[in-house]
């Protein structure tokens, strides 16, 4: 039996009944990784010894009758969420030798739930990118077509889940980095409300936008992981002190009476016809099951990319100032003087996209330009947020495509930053507004590449997202399809 194909909840049942052993399961995943990762290249670091120890421990506890939610479940983690003692590269030469002396809060919680960590997953350098091509450790390939990108920046996470190299994963999302790769790899990805999940131990990109979230094979697994990782953390002052519901209670096949808004700005002339058709079919399905469909408007949607590409690089330029070759990470051999050492270290340690964004952010924050760029963008952010507040006053959720196209070819947009930035056009405004959104599989292109449906909800109402996503999943079979790899 191919255990690696199963979901977290299916594996959990088999482990609990002791039909399978936790150690065999972990070994099964390593066999799978060995077979497919030379093609897919999801992993930067594989932690086989640690994982086997964790699996053996889980096995003992299962035999003792312990019933933790993830006991013996093999997960893999985006390489910017710190696991104590395991190299954390952020996809960058700058951190290629960095070993965190602590666990991120989400890792601590997963560990306490009995999870097994198989390794760390590839990503765009410092999460800056939409294709996983900017990684210092080479590209990840989309399991559905090895010539195409897996999306990004959590491309390793989405590809690993799609290629059955782990049972589930965590990614991070600053402008679409969980949802867009989930869409392109045909898996489920949730960006929680800003403040729902602690960011402690997540290497910072843009602190007012970053959130950690699950990437899984189905919606049930998303609910299971959300139950574990959510909640207030004293180590992250921006994590919200709001009660965490049991998200598995929202796994209900019922959207009767649900008010669903369709933002007209997301369906425009010239959009990809296959994406449009799949999403419109999805809307029809919700209608058939009793949801009430309304046309809504997000009038400032067109300004989201411009707003984001001021705010995110500005915050990034500030956050990445810490990489100076002094306390940790890469340091140049050129050590004539301190300033020269800083500049050479940063020149050698960062890749082109990261430098481009540091330059952009530094410019936007520099004397004489702050008001024109940064302050202006923060004001437009208010308008974008208000659009969502208004639309979600009259609707429970909004439906849009996750990405404007299915996965594109490796190299196609690599040296064209604006084209690359536009591939996040449907996801970026959600981070600016801070609301939660989930991407679920809703179809395939003629070439057999997955298409994602984005469901957007109210602040701290992931429950309705999960209910709507689960209903869609129960009445379609896209999530059961696997790439031939």
């Amino acid at each position: 039996m191919e255990l690696y194909k199963l979901t977290i909840h299916e594996l959990k049942e088999k482990l609990k009944k002791q039909e399978i052993s936790a150690k065999e399961l972990t070994l099964d995943f390593f066999k799978r990784i060995e077979r497919v990762d030379k093609d897919v290249h999801s992993f930067i670091t594989i932690t086989k010894n640690d994982a086997l120890k964790q699996a053996e421990e889980a096995e003992k506890r299962i035999i003792n009758g312990d019933n933790l939610p993830l006991l013996g479940i093999p997960l893999a983690i985006k390489d910017l969420i710190c696991i104590k003692g395991v190299r954390n590269t952020c996809g960058s030469k700058m951190l290629s030798n960095y070993i965190p002396p602590y666990d991120a809060t989400v890792i601590k919680k997963l560990r306490e739930s009995g999870a097994v960590f198989l390794g760390k997953l590839n990503m765009d350098e410092f999460a800056m990118g939409s294709s996983t091509e900017t990684s210092h450790f080479g590209v990840t390939r989309n399991p559905w077509d090895l010539k195409t990108i897996p999306g990004g920046s959590s491309g390793g996470s989405a590809a690993a889940v799609a290629a059955d190299e782990c049972a589930g994963s965590l990614g991070s999302d600053t402008g679409g980095s969980i949802r867009q790769p989930a869409a392109m790899c045909g898996v489920v990805g949730l960006k929680p409300t800003y403040g729902r999940v602690s960011r402690f131990g997540l290497v910072a990109f843009a602190s007012s936008l970053d959130q950690i979230g699950p990437i899984t094979k189905d919606v049930t697994d998303t609910a299971i992981l959300m139950n574990i990782i959510s909640g207030r953390d004293p180590l992250d002052s921006t994590s919200a002190d709001i009660p965490v519901p049991d998200f598995t209670r929202s796994l209900r096949n019922d959207v009767k009476g649900l008010k669903i808004g369709i933002p007209k700005e997301y369906f425009v002339e010239g959009m990809d016809v296959e994406v449009e058709k799949s999403v419109k079919d999805a809307i029809e399905l919700f209608k058939r099951f009793g949801a009430e469909i309304k046309d809504v408007s997000l009038p400032h949607a067109d300004y989201a990319i411009s707003t984001y590409y001021v705010i995110a690089p500005a915050e990034a330029s500030s956050n990445l100032a810490r990489y100076d070759g002094v306390k940790y990470g890469y340091r140049t051999n050129n050590r004539e003087n301190l300033l020269g050492m800083y500049k050479k270290t940063r020149q050698d340690g960062f890749g082109t996209e990261v430098k481009r964004r540091i330059m952009l952010g530094t410019y936007a924050l520099s004397s004489g330009y702050y008001d024109a760029y940064y302050l202006k963008a923060q004001k437009v952010r208010t308008l974008i947020k208000k659009d969502f507040d208004e639309a979600l006053k009259i609707c429970d959720i909004l439906l849009t495509p996750t990405a404007p196209t299915p996965a594109f070819k490796i190299g196609e947009k690599f040296d064209n930053p604006i084209q690359m930035y536009l591939s996040d056009i449907f996801t970026i405004s959600i981070n600016l507004a801070g609301v939660p959104a989930i991407s679920i599989p809703c179809g395939f292109s003629n070439k057999g590449l997955p298409i994602g449906l984005q469901i957007i909800g109210k602040h701290f109402d992931e429950e309705t997202l999960i209910r709507a996503a689960y209903t869609f999943e129960q009445n379609t079979d896209y999530h059961t399809k696997n790439p031939e790899i």
Partner: protein, 97 residues
Amino acid sequence: MKLSIKEVEHVAELARLELSDEEKNKFVHQLSNILTHIEKLNQLDTSNIEPTSHVLPLKNIFRDDVTQISFQESNSLENAPDKDKGYYKVPKIIEEA
């Protein structure tokens, strides 16, 4: 917005990046294009709009001022590229008289 090479060099200096000539030339062009795209924001009148720096209505978050366990010196230094006697070591910054 068209940037000059001089402006790119100035920003690189602020960002502590020693860019190559090739990168400078590339960035002059690419950053100018991105900034032109961003100027779209000027179409909007925002004179009466408050800026949003953060989406949650959070004020200062305080905790009681009690001692907690923190990293040992050895933990904090274990990733240092260069260290000496419990300190981070950097190139000399004070010139001899």
